[in-house]
């Protein structure tokens, strides 16, 4: 592979090049999905870490923030992995006991996972196990759902991911037990992890996922996670992501998803952690009569920066999507919302509505809203709106006049503001568990 001329490569970019050179694909272009990796790394190297002159990263300059990169994470010992998983906060919620896929240091740890009750309906395999020769046909499809999405961080993950899981949900299955993908980092040094998951939900299946990225230390980890999700026709998928990484960490998470005919998809991103976070979703509505919702609840303070980026492509007619972002920003924190709705030429009767509301709690905080609509069909309903405001004085007075002290009243109103997005997921168990986490975060606020 020819070296392209690279000027002003940052130490982080140099480290990534070395990292790739040390992998099998980097050396030979071979190995499982080797060609795809080599191609992805070429694409990444062509652009480097995205920076503010790249439109999609205008407000989230990763090149400037990630001058250096912590070392790639090594697999954790069993004891360390156990300790890290035990240190993850317990989700409250009456009787809520999801199945657990444990991801420690970016790697699937089957022996610390709990997959009871999924037999026959859900198969879960680690990539490393598949690379070693297991013949799951799903492996051949990894990468296919991310194809067509041109994003440097996704390309970087494709080039470098070590492990993660491939999940297949059998067509027609109704999986009663929610499945959590719990990501933690073990050890006492900052590391970089790049987990990758590929999830295939078969036709007519119903399943709920809870993707968690939890802090078990205050180390400045870097995460660059990617998930490919296929929602087949008539399936119903609920996916909630909780990003609660250490306040010194950098978190980038990308989801690419395709949604089939008459499928229902509900997604929620709750952002509480990381110094710099970007959660991005690239969703493609590929079948008619899809109902999709994307909610985001963000509460950040201090010097935190949180970016929620969503690109939804309505490629076919009669799709309904709703995008709702709620951000609460305190101190000198900055919240970024970029929402883009593309309606393709034949996607008539599309109904897509996007709303972004920010609650600003301090003089020094900031909320950036960048809504974009690109509509090439003529019979559609699309709307977007954005508001930024402060806590409603009248509501605050109402609560205080009932005896609730100012601080507690403010907290209640913040919770009341965010809950609209949290409940948008439409699953009581998950929204209860996550609102519990939100409430604890507000107590510290």
């Amino acid at each position: 592979m020819a070296q392209s001329p690279e000027i002003n490569r940052t130490p982080a970019e140099a480290a990534l090049a070395d990292w790739f050179a040390a992998t099998e694909s980097g050396r030979t272009g071979e190995g499982p999905i080797g060609e795809m990796r080599a191609e992805a790394f070429d694409r990444f190297r062509g652009q480097g870490l995205p920076h503010r002159r790249v439109e999609a990263y205008k407000y989230t300059d990763l090149r400037a923030t990630l001058r250096t990169l912590p070392a790639a994470a090594e697999p954790a010992s069993r004891e360390a992995a156990e300790a890290a998983l035990a240190a993850a906060p317990v989700l409250s919620g009456e009787g809520f006991a999801p199945a657990r896929i444990a991801i420690v240091n970016g790697r699937f740890v089957p022996e610390l996972s709990d997959l009871d009750g999924l037999d026959g309906a859900v198969s879960v395999h680690g990539f490393s196990e598949m690379f070693a020769g297991s013949a799951d046909p799903a492996l051949a499809r990894v990468g296919s759902l991310a194809a067509g999405v041109d994003d440097p961080m996704l390309a970087l993950n494709t080039a470098l991911f070590d492990d993660g899981v491939v999940i297949s949900v059998t067509a027609g299955a109704t999986v009663a037990r929610a499945i959590e993908l719990l990501h933690v980092v073990a050890g006492d040094a900052a590391v970089t992890t790049m987990p990758r998951h590929a999830v295939f939900v078969g036709e007519g299946a119903t399943v709920r996922f809870l993707e968690r990225h939890e802090a078990t230390s205050d180390l400045a980890h870097t995460t660059n996670a990617a998930i490919e999700l296929e929602v087949a026709a008539n399936a119903s998928v609920t996916w909630a992501k909780l990003q609660a990484e250490p306040l010194a960490a950098t978190h980038v998470g990308t989801m690419t998803t395709t949604i089939g005919t008459e499928a229902r998809f509900a997604h929620l991103t709750m952002t509480l952690g990381a110094k710099l976070a970007r959660s991005q979703i690239f969703a493609r509505v590929e079948g008619e009569f899809v109902e999709a919702s994307f909610d985001a609840a963000t509460f950040i303070k201090g010097e935190q920066h949180a970016d929620n980026t969503l690109v939804i492509d309505h490629k076919v007619p009669n799709g309904v999507s709703q995008e709702r972002f709620r951000s609460v920003v305190d101190d000198r924190a900055q919240a970024v919302v970029q929402g883009r709705i593309n309606v393709w030429p034949h996607a008539q009767k599309t109904d897509a509505r996007m709303m972004s509301n920010a609650l600003l709690l301090s003089e020094g905080c900031e909320a950036v809203n960048k809504p974009e609509l690109e509509i090439f069909a003529d019979d559609v309903q699309c709307a977007h709106g954005a508001t930024s405001g402060q806590i409603d004085e009248q509501a605050l007075f109402y609560l205080r006049s009932r005896g609730i002290p100012r601080r507690q009243a403010e907290r209640l109103l913040i919770e009341s503001f965010l809950i609209g997005a949290v409940e948008g997921i439409g699953d009581e168990e998950i929204s209860d568990a996550l609102s519990g986490r939100m409430r604890s975060a507000l107590d510290l606020g």
């Binding site: 409603d392 004085e393 009248q394 509501a395 007075f397 109402y398 609560l399 205080r400 006049s401 009932r402 005896g403 609730i404 002290p405 100012r406 507690q408 009243a409 209640l412 109103l413 919770e415 009341s416 503001f417 965010l418 809950i419 609209g420 409940e423």
Partner: protein, 251 residues
Amino acid sequence: MTKMLQIKNLHARIDEREILKGIDLEVGAGEVHAIMGPNGSGKSTLSHVLAGRDEYEVTEGQVLFNGVDLLELEPEERAAAGVFLAFQYPIEVPGVANMTFLKTSLNAQRKERGEDAMSTPEFMKLVKGAAEKLNISQEMLRRPVNVGFSGGEKKRNEILQMAVLDPKLAVLDETDSGLDIDALKIVADGVNALRSPDRSFVVITHYQRLLEHIVPDVVHVLAGGRIVKTGGKELALELEARGYADFVEAA
């Protein structure tokens, strides 16, 4: 005996505009005082100043509540001291269940007063009893505060809060506005059930009809930011017959 509420020469303004221009009012324990007056006379301003809304600036005068300078207290401290304002336009609080709101309010007040939190069974019993009298369903108690409530439901909910929080002084700000006859009766019955020798009411209203149900001991006419006439309950009837025109001119 000292009066429960003593308002002396109270002046208040908002945005440089003086609205209360020297109110004098004394309310004794157990008394019900009605304050009537034309629109814009300062009725709602008075109620908000008593509850502590800080957008109004008090420029002169004094408000003593059981001998304590009320104007020195934060709204939540006034509530804990026993002042309750039933809002003309109750606020919606999405995501906070009515029941949770009641419990949070009650226990915040008890904490401020140095009392223990009320036990859940005791609280449930209290709310259930009060809700039944006001025809408030369990479903309404579970719903977020005032969200999706009709005008009448919101007003009944205010009275429920009053019943649960058990104030010493209740100020009802145009509680009758937007109520049909049936709802008015439920609300009035709720208020009457709470009348006691230790509890006083200031009932602010534009119309006399509420006072047919909540019969006042004293009626005041507020016009142009001052109390221009005080009389017995028959004054309300007189106003109903003759209107406020005389007073608007007088002020």
